[in-house]
């Protein structure tokens, strides 16, 4: 293929792709055709499974997006849209949709006990009530996992001793396993199966709750584990009765009636079955956040510390980063390159790993800090030392970034401005205060504000380092270094089961706080006036 310069024709500038006539260059045209061709190919590739699985809504969205892309890039109009569309599509799908989903969740009771529809709840209730009855079929059981033994989804590898046939049992049902997919021991027990990791007794024992909780639905009931090496097929003792909209226990005769306002089957005494279903609860989650005595009790002190933490991190990292940037930003300085490359190193280290390393460095007994300085401080045992520790860790992790962006911003400030000031006799300190700093602030305000927003919800900064420690003796829920997001995490996910609906409501409150503070920040720094 010819060089772009040749294709662009004579008479124009030597610059890439420019033509004298102003028409679209052949290179541009070819690139456009290629890219749109790839878009079309991806759309077709994506459409087949959608048609296959009859997901018409998603198919309609896919077609609409493809048509939109073609329309925008083939028409000569809407120039800004051509530049914005790809990034915006990703933003909508992977950021805005999840946020909207979270917001809608806040109005439901979605959580571990309320996961799916009422039908799902009925299925779960019936499966959970499976009991062994005389004549139940027995199986030889091998516990396996799909992937990692500790985290992979559990599956049962079953052999029917009567027929010698093997099956794969998952929450989705029972599948036949052909002889070439499995290896069996002499007694017929499966010892290996394609695509699954067989768990050792110790590994299975570590997940015994999940093993006994797994039930494989069958036509006549469900297969459940009995210990770790045997399984039986039992029949459900509790069944749903559409006539009374209730669940009835066959042996005891107790009934639980469906209550759609709470999403549970409730009996006459007000006790409910463990598995419920998802219902809308209106503003109840928000009301709970505001009125729950446990939450209200510690909310204010946590909120205060949350602000102090976020402002503290931004302020300290920016101050130190800017100081170092200014110190190193001089043509007279030798070794500038070396300083810069070494100071930036913490930013290159994997943050998660370094958070864990710092946590261990603060360890009372064998931590590096105590050994190095000959101290015997229980860092996470006292509120103020713990707060100092988490701030120090964030300062270490974050000041390098501030150093980088400050260096960039300092160099973007025209030299004439500061030179003019010193010609006028201003002291360096005055020139900094009057000229450099305001200009820096305007340039960096969006970064500082988003750093605030990030640190306000910096989950891993607290969770991986102090875990919220220390906790007051009378309240094991709210630690001295807890910020709202870790506190919410403990309330919503730490107890018996996850409560996403409630957590989503709290996160909306957090979002409002962060957004208000950020908008005030923009107002004060006049950063928004830049974007007229």
């Amino acid at each position: 293929m010819a060089h772009p310069e040749d294709l662009a024709g004579g008479g124009g500038r030597p610059r890439f792709g420019l033509t004298a006539s102003g028409t679209v260059s052949p290179v541009g045209l070819i690139a456009k055709i290629l890219v749109l061709g790839v878009v079309a190919a991806i759309a077709v590739w994506g459409a087949f499974p959608l048609i296959d699985q009859e997901r018409w809504l998603l198919l309609a969205i896919l077609v609409a997006v493809t048509v939109l892309l073609f329309a925008v890039y083939l028409s000569p109009r809407h120039i800004p849209l051509k530049y914005l569309l790809p990034g915006t599509l990703f933003l909508i799908v992977f950021q805005i949709v999840p946020v909207i989903y979270t917001i809608t969740t806040a109005f439901t009771n979605f959580g571990d006990a309320h996961r799916g529809s009422k039908q799902d709840a009925v299925t779960a209730v019936q499966a959970a009530s499976v009991r062994q009855v005389p004549g139940s079929a027995q199986y030889l059981l091998t516990v396996a996992a799909d992937g990692d033994p500790a985290t992979g989804e559990l599956a049962f590898l079953l052999t029917d001793p009567a027929t010698g046939r093997s099956f794969l049992g998952t929450p989705d049902g029972l599948e036949d396993l052909s002889d070439d997919e499995v290896t069996r021991a002499a007694n017929g027990r499966v010892t290996a199966a394609e695509g699954y990791t067989v768990l050792t007794v110790a590994q299975a024992g570590a997940r015994s709750a999940a093993v006994s909780g797994l039930s494989v639905p069958t036509d006549s009931g469900a297969i459940k584990a009995q210990g770790l090496s045997r399984a039986f097929e039992g029949s459900p003792q509790q069944a749903y009765d559409a006539g009374c909209d209730c669940v009835r226990d066959a042996t005891t005769g107790r009934t639980w009636t469906a209550d759609d306002s709470v999403g549970y089957f409730v009996d006459a005494e007000g006790n409910n079955l463990a598995q419920g279903w998802k219902v809308n609860v209106g503003l109840r989650n928000f009301a709970d956040v505001l009125t729950d005595p446990v939450i209200r009790g510690s909310f204010l002190s946590i909120l205060l510390w949350n602000f102090a933490f976020a402002f503290g991190v931004v302020g300290l990292t920016f101050a130190l980063g800017l100081l170092v940037a200014m110190a190193l930003n001089s043509p007279d300085l030798r070794g500038q390159r070396i300083y810069r490359s070494l100071i930036i190193l913490p930013y290159a280290m994997p943050a998660v790993a370094m958070l864990l390393v710092w946590r261990d460095m603060f360890n009372t007994d064998f931590g590096l800090i105590n050994r190095l300085f000959g101290l015997d401080v229980n860092w996470f045992g006292d509120a103020w030392t713990a707060r100092f520790a988490v701030l120090l860790v964030q300062l270490w992790l974050g000041y390098n970034y501030m150093f980088l962006v400050s260096t960039g911003a300092l160099q973007a400030i025209p030299k004439e401005l500061t030179e003019a000031a010193s010609v006028d006799g201003a002291t360096p300190a005055y020139a900094f205060r009057a000229i450099t700093f305001p200009l820096l602030l305007v340039a960096l305000a969006p970064l500082l504000i988003s750093s605030f927003a990030f640190n306000f919800n910096n989950f891993s900064a607290i969770y991986l380092v102090s875990e919220g420690n220390p906790f007051p003796p009378d309240n094991p829920q709210a630690g001295a270094t807890d910020i709202l997001i870790t506190y919410t995490y403990r309330l919503a996910f730490g107890g018996a089961g996850a409560e996403y609906g409630f957590a989503a409501a709290v996160s909306i409150f957090i979002f409002l706080i962060v957004a208000v503070v950020s908008i005030l920040g923009f107002r004060r720094t006049h950063a928004l006036e830049e974007i007229n």
Partner: protein
Amino acid sequence: MATTTSPAPAAAEVPAAPARSAGRRGGWFRRVGWRHLVGVLALAFSLFPILFVVSAALNPLGTLSSSELIPSGAGTENFRRLFSDTSFGTWFLNSMIIGLLAAGLSMFLSATAAYAFSRYRFRGRRPGLLGILLVQMFPQFLAIVALYLMFSTVSDIWPAIGFNTRWGILLLYLGGALGVNTWLMKGFFDTIPTELDESAKVDGASHTQIFFGIILPLVAPILAVTGLLGFIASVNEFLIASVFLTDDPSKTAAVGLYGLVSAERNNNFGVFAAGSLLLAVPTVLLFQFLQRYIVGGLTAGAVKG
């Protein structure tokens, strides 16, 4: 104010910038010395935890409780265990592929958006710019629940971009392409005089030719910065990756390394430190390679003219 009282001759001595009285050698200290002092202190603060990690990685015992700041011995046992006992090679490769693609593509998406925000006036521009920042303020870790449910469906329909795939997590990271980096870039684009575009337009250049031929080469420093930041962010991203990549061969190095110490902290510490060090190497190299762009100070001279 100092400006009004300064006599004219003072202006001639500007380079010395006298502020307060100082000793004879104070001139050197005020000009360069204090810069070295700040630099050395910053270095010490930056490096001592890293030194600890280096020493732990070389520590032949490989446990946390036996690790010191200064290496007590040197051995490659931890590195050997890293490659023989874990799938670190695969994790590392995953991290590099995802990191480079995510950084490059995000940079491009962000640059195109910044060009539109900087050079065009259109309806929805201001709300768009603000919206980009506002979305980032939503607590991300809850959105993970939504993303998880979303990708459960995606895994059913298109397993190639579902859980435990590089493509799935890459697409997800591109969702963050328009963010604070777009602001950073837009600010930089704004400093490039529009006269350049205008004169090219007069010469008959189309908007794509202006963008690719004129603007992009001039904004190379900010591309380098955002590319590097994007690479670091996606290589070190942990919360989402740990939920999405659970199969051992699909894990990124950050997820894999966390698994090492979450299971058995004390005994695996040396291996973990060795892995963390290796993971930092590409980022450090990339920074060295891009440094002349990052600190290039292009805006000061090249464009003004």
